[in-house]
């Protein structure tokens, strides 16, 4: 199998239904993410984008369809086999406070992935954790802190540090800046862009904020009621929106109108 030519992530015909009469869920989702690229998934709340992220991360099971990571079908994997490939795809959650065990300090948060996958010798854990922490702009004085003792931006930096520790090819970013102060959003986005440039990691970027999508993603998908309603290069989609859902999202960002007109 030629790993470089196959996409990092490919979803084929993913569908998920929650209940008989539910309008949530997903229908016929096909998408792919190329190496080192960013695919944004935009959509209003309830459009199914977070469900999609959870399915990609194998936190939720699709009813039909397959998930291919680096050419390998992971949608039927479970148990030990799934745990073994977990380092290859990581996730950064929307609310960084909820994404950490409230009783674990930063040191433990960062050493966990190393220990779980035996990525280093035990005496190197702290050094490597510190390296990741410094890479995201924090330092040794943060190692002993609990998540509650960090600011929102610092928490998301720790979450990013945890995600890059296992050197993944894909990171799913579920609204990584929407819970953050506007003033720190740009810093976090720039950090993510720098990391992508350095490591060639691909991002699946979930967001409802088209201003952020525009600054961040190569390609984008717009979702509406569990379906893909529009897909293409970010610039092209935003310059000439076809779907109603895209227009609604664009109207939700007044700044973007000014830029475009």
């Amino acid at each position: 199998m030629d790993m470089s030519s196959s996409p990092v992530l490919e979803l084929r015909n993913i569908a998920k239904r929650f209940g008989e009469h539910s309008h949530d869920g997903l229908k016929n989702i096909d998408l792919s993410v190329q190496h080192g690229q960013t695919l944004a998934i935009a959509g209003s709340s309830g459009s199914g984008k977070t469900t999609l992220a959870r399915i990609v991360m194998r936190l939720a099971e699709p009813d039909t369809g397959s998930i291919h990571l680096l050419g390998q079908d992971i949608s039927r994997m479970g148990g030990e086999a799934l745990r073994k490939i977990r380092p290859g795809f990581q996730m950064v959650f929307q609310d960084p406070l909820a994404a950490f065990n409230p009783r674990a300090n930063v040191k433990r948060i960062l050493e966990d992935p190393l220990r779980i996958h035996g990525l280093a010798a035990k005496n190197e854990y702290e050094q490597i954790a510190l390296g990741a922490l410094e890479r995201v702009g924090l330092g040794a004085d943060h190692l002993q802190r609990l998540p509650l003792e960090l600011s929102g931006g610092q928490r998301q930096r720790v979450a990013i540090a945890r995600a890059i520790l296992t050197k993944p090819q894909l990171i799913v970013l579920d609204e990584p800046v929407s819970a953050l102060d506007v003033s720190v959003r740009a810093q976090i986005l720039n950090l993510l862009l720098d990391l992508q440039e350095e490591t060639g990691v691909a991002y699946l970027f979930i967001s409802h904020d088209l201003a952020v999508v525009r600054a961040f993603a190569d390609r984008m998908i717009v979702m509406e009621q569990g379906r893909i309603s529009e897909e293409g290069n970010t610039e092209a989609v935003l310059a000439n929106p076809q779907a109603n859902a895209t227009r609604i999202l664009i109207e939700a960002v007044p700044r973007l109108d000014i830029v475009m007109s």
Partner: protein
């Protein structure tokens, strides 16, 4: 350190005094508390050597009271601890695993719950014979179910949280997620059950000794009350003194429990 409220402070002071009494029992009342040490049926404050009096065999009431603290606290704390540990493990497994494991574990819990804790303890003791370890086992058998249910409820809500999802995406094994990520966070409400557990254990232990199912080689408050019962009219103090000790102990633990759960609720 969180500041304790007045209730918890009073409870803590009483409990510390009781623990000190238990620890230093051989110094406060040297010798065998079951040995005859003077004239029988001395009233309290009538003799300097026995200022809480003596029972109908001439055994010192103060010595019995002080040494009884040891048995009471020993049995109560260990059986409450055993009940909490077993209960939170069962509750965590049940809530986290779900499905068949949950059904089986919860039916077992309910089976234990339908039998009153005291009867269960009584039945166990009559099979195993009375000694401190069997008392601890017998009392905790009826005491762990509440901890299991409370922990399960807490785990059910915690397991849907993002940090559990994050642990899964990191490839953490299910048992580690259950016991290292979830259980420590579910323990708060369970720990506030500790006070009730300890208080229940003290009362069951006293009731068992009262019925003659206590460890015969140790003085217990329950057996002192039972002893005094036969001369209740002539010497009511023989039952009242250990009775007061029992009330004070249970009260101190309730006060601490109330105070702690109050502080816990103020936590973010």
């Amino acid at each position: 350190m969180k500041t304790l409220n007045l209730e918890a402070k009073i409870g803590a002071i009483l409990l510390v005094l009781l623990v000190l009494m238990a620890l230093f029992a051989p110094l406060i009342a040297p010798g065998d508390p079951l040995a005859i040490s003077g004239e029988a049926m001395l009233r309290p404050f009538a003799s300097e050597a026995h200022w809480l009096g003596t029972d109908r065999l001439g055994r010192d009431v103060l010595a019995g009271l002080v040494h009884g603290t040891r048995t009471t606290l020993l049995v109560a704390f260990f059986s409450a601890a055993a009940a909490l540990i077993v209960g939170s493990i069962v509750g965590t497994l049940s809530g986290f695993l779900g499905g068949l494991a949950d059904i089986v574990l919860m039916r077992i819990t309910e089976a234990f719950q339908t039998v009153p804790g005291f009867l269960l303890a009584l039945a166990t003791i009559s099979v195993t014979g009375p000694s401190v370890p069997t008392l601890i086992l017998a009392i905790s058998l009826g005491n762990w179910t509440q901890a299991a249910r409370v922990t399960r409820a807490e785990v059910l809500s915690l397991r849907e949280r993002d940090f559990v999802a994050a642990a899964r995406t990191l490839g953490m094994r299910p048992l580690e997620i259950a016991f290292r990520e979830i259980l420590p966070n579910a323990f708060g409400p369970t720990a506030s059950l500790a006070a009730i557990s300890v208080a229940t254990a003290i009362l069951i232990e006293a009731a068992l000794s009262f019925l003659g199912f206590g460890d015969p080689n140790r003085v217990t408050w329950g057996s002192m009350i039972a002893e005094g019962r036969t001369v209740l009219r002539a010497a009511p103090y023989l039952s009242i003194v250990p009775g007061i000790a029992l009330v004070v102990t249970v009260l101190s633990i309730h006060l601490i429990g109330r105070g702690l759960s109050h502080t816990e609720r103020l936590q973010p």
